[in-house]
């Protein structure tokens, strides 16, 4: 973060696979961003985007105390991405603006899925599901069990290479999951929480540097998790065509890549095992996913 006291503005840069997003605004607006959005170095084996620079500006918007707007400035004319009436709303709205911009730019080169990604032993597991299915909780539980972290929400997939890449953002923990994870991650108990869009506040959990996998990883298993309170934990194998339907429904940008994107998605599935996971028990879910990956390696 660089800042200028004379103008009371600061700037912070986020880098991810050749994408460079600069955020400018009052210093308070940038607080916590480096922890929530750890930048990623260029990765071996990943060509990345051609040089792509974006600029977001946070500024006061008049109106109520702390009203703000977030504008994207690199599109010719300024485009408002978000606004809010209260300063507490800023972090989550800025996060959303960053993620949206990231998806838009990275989506020109990569297939992007609403999914978490973890890896162990050089083999990736992609966990795709709609919001509220328990992706982040499961990803965090898997990382605690020794898996490497690539993402809890946005799976960046190099369709041509058939590999998943990390997305430089900390895990976003919803309040309902904190009690499940706090014994494994005591810092969650005292971590700052951020107000959401009318939802309960969220907390961010940044993996330790050694918990990140900073390399492309082949996806060897696809898991479609669903949290169901009290459900008997079960992991059932599904056909690749069933997995394709589920995966396509969680793809942010398949129409952009059209037939090539679909062919790449099919190719990803060809060599992988596909499972549906229903569980209300985190430890059991972690054990089931671990066993599924181990079974492929044996």
């Amino acid at each position: 973060v660089t800042s200028s006291t004379a103008t009371a503005t600061a700037a912070w840069d986020w880098r991810c696979h050749g994408l460079h997003i600069r955020v400018e605004g009052p210093p308070h607006a940038l607080e916590g961003l480096p922890e929530r959005f750890p930048g990623l170095p260029p990765l071996d084996g990943d060509e990345g985007l051609p040089r792509t620079a974006c600029r977001l500006r946070v500024e006061a918007a008049g109106g109520g105390y702390g009203a703000f707007r977030i504008t994207r400035l690199d599109l010719g004319a300024p485009v408002e991405l978000a606004h809010g009436e209260h300063r507490e709303q800023l972090p989550v709205r800025l996060d959303r603006a960053l993620v949206t911009t990231g998806i838009e730019c990275l989506g020109s080169r990569y297939l992007l899925f609403h999914a978490g990604v973890v890896a162990r032993g050089g083999r990736g597991v992609l966990l795709a599901a709609p919001s509220g299915s328990g992706k982040t909780t499961l990803v965090t539980g898997l990382v605690h069990a020794g898996f490497s972290f690539l993402s809890d929400e946005i799976a960046v997939v190099d369709g041509a290479g058939g590999t998943a890449l990390p997305f430089g953002r900390a895990a976003c923990i919803k309040p309902g999951a904190i009690h499940l994870l706090q014994s494994s991650f005591p810092a969650l108990g005292t971590a700052r929480s951020y107000a959401g869009y009318g939802e309960a506040p969220v907390t961010f959990l940044a993996p330790r540097p050694e918990q990140w996998l900073l390399a492309p990883v082949p996806v060897e298993a696809f898991v479609f998790p669903r949290y169901e309170a009290g459900a008997e934990p079960r992991l059932e194998e599904i056909s690749r065509s069933q997995a394709l339907e589920l995966l396509v429904s969680q793809c942010f940008n398949l129409p952009r890549h059209a037939a090539t994107g679909l062919a790449q998605t099919v190719a990803l599935l060809r060599g992988a095992s596909c499972h549906r996971l229903v569980s209300g028990d985190l430890d059991a879910a972690v054990a089931l996913v671990s066993r599924a990956l181990e079974a492929r390696g044996s």
Binding site: L244, A259, L262
Partner: protein, 88 residues
């Protein structure tokens, strides 16, 4: 039964296990065909009627002469046609 359906040449097929994934570039929709429907789709080259396609499928599957697949083939062709995957 007298038309000779033809698979749309711009629709791309990707094999996935025993099934075939079709992608329609006009509307961005994908379809998964089971093994038999995939075979039928691939046979739709504009040279055979539904009756001829049924006969060809019967032969490829090694079924008895008295086994008539015409009704099933007609149903499947109707589904492919409604999905816009065929040209008449």
């Amino acid at each position: 039964l007298t038309t000779r359906p033809s698979a749309r040449p711009d629709v791309r097929g990707e094999p996935l296990d025993s099934e075939l994934v079709l992608y329609d570039p006009e509307n961005g929709r994908a379809y998964v065909l089971n093994r038999t429907a995939a075979l039928l789709w691939e046979l739709c080259d504009g040279s055979l009627t539904a009756t001829g396609l049924a006969e060809e499928l019967r032969r490829l599957y090694g079924l008895d002469d008295h086994c008539n697949l015409t009704a099933d083939v007609t149903t499947c062709l109707g589904q492919l046609e409604r999905a816009g995957l065929l040209v008449a």
